[in-house]
Symmetry: C2
Subunit: 237 residues, 2 copies
Amino acid sequence: MNMNKGKLIGIGVGPGDPELLTVKAVKTLESVPVICSPKSSPKKPSVALSIVQGILDGRSDEYNVIEPLFPMIEDKNALESYWAGAAELIISELDEGQNVSFITLGDPAIYSTFSYVARIIGDRGYLVEMIPGINSFTGCAASAGITLGEKDEIILVVPKVDQRLGEILEHADTAVVMKTSRHSHMLEEIVKQDPRDKEILSVQNCGMEDEEIFDGFARNGKYLSTTIIKFKKLENK
Amino acid sequence: MNMNKGKLIGIGVGPGDPELLTVKAVKTLESVPVICSPKSSPKKPSVALSIVQGILDGRSDEYNVIEPLFPMIEDKNALESYWAGAAELIISELDEGQNVSFITLGDPAIYSTFSYVARIIGDRGYLVEMIPGINSFTGCAASAGITLGEKDEIILVVPKVDQRLGEILEHADTAVVMKTSRHSHMLEEIVKQDPRDKEILSVQNCGMEDEEIFDGFARNGKYLSTTIIKFKKLENK
């Protein structure tokens, strides 16, 4: 471990409402010298950064914000070169002894780009820590006033709609499907095959000012859409 | 909706570290007139209450703590009568126009006793809200420095060890199994059947002073034990 080097701290900033940050996340963001906030496009503001902007605005000391580009592409080689580039940017700060907080929507352990960058940096011998965040699906459940699991119910979390859902849905009591709006038709078809009664709802932009909750599926293509399907137990005949 | 009545607010207090409460939870606990903190035994202190005690100690105003008994029993009828009793206790406060915060370990939507009491109270026409909390498994992942899901990986969350696991494990990339220590031998047998390579770790008393992280399974019987199994993809032959 490089003892005179800074450490990388992955911070989950929760689904959208700045009040859903943890006390630990707020304290860290009030004092860390460098904030790394990836953005998906040079033209679009970072959602994670907008969530913590109020905390940063309250600081009277100097701090740096670095915003590496992480485009939403599927090409694995291209993605890896973006991650490596972000890692180099962060490492140059760590080498100067600066701690760097990498902010990420939701929780850093759940489908976060943080993990790819953290692996590169951890493998190079730097200290990496994580501060957990409210993940989108518990945020959605709270907004919608429903539970995700009770008693011995099994919860399934799937990051996107694909054909594997057909094989696994029958084993779940609750299915959380993230980023559903782009393939909501496929999701509907798969869910329809399950003979159980079900309660379906979707939450878009959870915790944000334009949060919307729908009965059923989300069809309008917004990126931050999560669908929760609660299956009722089949009665024994 | 009874407009002059108080509302019930389910608050997830996270896995153990008081700094993992959200800002919203702290603000609410600093001002709410009644805190409901169920305890599993008259002799044992409530874990959830101990997590928020520091916040309550900082208050200069008057507040009430009510501690209904929710024993850890399996008898459904007996349990329902405990829930109904707790609901009455809370309703008597709501009827006096007092808001009541029901504190619960982790998140109120994930295997929380809050849900049973909230249903009774909601059905009686009172307003019920939820403030999400850091759930134990993202807390465990952060403590252990691992991710739960990356890319298109499927996460399975199971509240306790039972035979259903055998049918469903093969569909998961990551399995989170809660309260594992009482049946860790059964869990080991089931996991062994899966031909994939795997990384297994267990976290006990996550976020608390006596937190412990084990390689493999937890065998010492502590209640707050979570085991995380990450499966490696089988190579195509």
